[in-house]
Amino acid sequence: MDREKKIFFSSLFLAGEPLDNKFFRKILDPINLENRLLDYMEQFNGMSLGIKIRQVSGGFQMVTDKELFTELEPFFGEKTETLSRASLETAAIIAYKQPITRLEIDEIRGVNSSGTVRYLLDKNLVKVTGRKDVPGKPLLYSTTKFFLEYMGINDISELPTFREWQELKTK
């Protein structure tokens, strides 16, 4: 339905941030909705407007085309520092092993990770999701929805699996 498509586009325009399927189920007919939304997204992106709809962190988000980055960046880009190697490594481990304790991260990295974990917590890229039922009851960490958004992926499963990586390596 045409009206539904317009509501999908205009909601994404207004929100700026990703809107998940739960949101659209509230505002639109929920039956078989996701397929229709994917279809609308493709139609929108097919028009090459310089504005794109991307699937991210389990929802949809309206963003600008990356090919326009150089022109738009001076006016609309936010200066944000990129993550350090230590932070990326730690985030990677948490992403694959979640929920995971700090000690378990330390073991994999071979170094103390308390500083980087705190940094990732501050940046809202990881969060505490409970305590492990072992002596000392250490905190468990998981990645956040914002982590997905930050990396521009829809789901953790989009990252390569260990098996895929091994196959690539041994070739």
Binding site: G16, M62, T64, L72, L88, R109, M151
Partner: protein
């Protein structure tokens, strides 16, 4: 030997990172590391750092001593090993597993770096836009025109006055006193004419009675249902 480390030690995330660097640098097979060789290289690297007066994290020292220990164990005949300890080949296997796992995350971190860069190129608006109710629903040039021209037309009409609904007795007393002082003598119907409501008429009548009691005015009626005349009592002439 001083050229062994082409990257500074503090560029390494930890001992595993340095080990992987040495393995790749020497084109070794990560699944079958020559322990003696790698132990030597590792110790050299750490010593080099010491010479350069760089503070070396405890993890590097631990790894160096572990590698030396493992190397020495592998040189000893199997039979001479205490039973409670792991077979050196098994230890090497565990180390290999750790290295492989770590190198996987190292590569994933690299992948995340690419994603981060790529994702950063999609610019987004940081905050939501709220639809202005007014501009969308109501205000349009016609409404503005309407408000203006109606205001101009209204100019010719007599402005409507809204009286207070609640009539205050003391206000009414003040009003009647003022009327009496001004005219000296007046009819009750004159007072009624100033009233905006039936309620005010009643309160005015009570006020007249009160002013009579206070000997400020006197009121007379010539005949039944005739006009009531209200007049001011001269100061000093009171009680006279």
């Amino acid at each position: 030997m001083s050229h062994l480390l082409d990257v500074r030690l503090d560029n390494f995330e930890g001992p595993l990172d340095l080990l992987i660097h040495l393995i790749y640098k020497n084109e070794l097979n990560i699944y079958d590391i020559p322990i003696a060789f790698i132990a030597g290289q590792f110790v050299d690297a750490v010593q080099e750092m010491e010479k350069m007066d760089i503070e070396i994290a405890a993890e590097f020292i631990n790894m160096a001593s572990y590698l030396i220990y493992l190397k020495s164990r592998m040189l000893l005949p199997k039979e001479s090993l205490p039973l409670e300890e792991l077979d050196p080949e098994e230890e090497k296997f565990i180390l290999t597993q750790r290295l492989v796992e770590y190198s996987f995350y190292k590569d994933v971190a690299q992948k995340l770096r690419e994603l981060e860069n790529d994702s950063g190129k999609y610019l987004m608006r940081g905050s939501a836009i709220f639809i202005e109710r007014e501009s969308i629903q109501t205000e349009d040039p016609y409404r503005i025109a309407n408000a203006f021209f109606c205001a101009l037309e209204k100019d010719n009409e007599k402005p409507m006055k809204f009286e207070k609904d609640i009539v205050d007795v003391s206000d009414v007393i003040v009003k009647i006193k003022a009327l009496v002082y001004e005219k000296q003598k007046l009819f009750w119907t004159d007072v009624v004419k100033t009233c905006a409501s039936r309620r005010e008429v009643v309160i005015s009548f009570l006020s007249v009675l009160e002013l009579m009691r206070l000997a400020i005015i006197r009121a007379m009626q010539a005949e039944t249902f005739g006009e009531i005349v209200i007049e001011q009592i001269e100061q000093g002439a009171a009680n006279g």
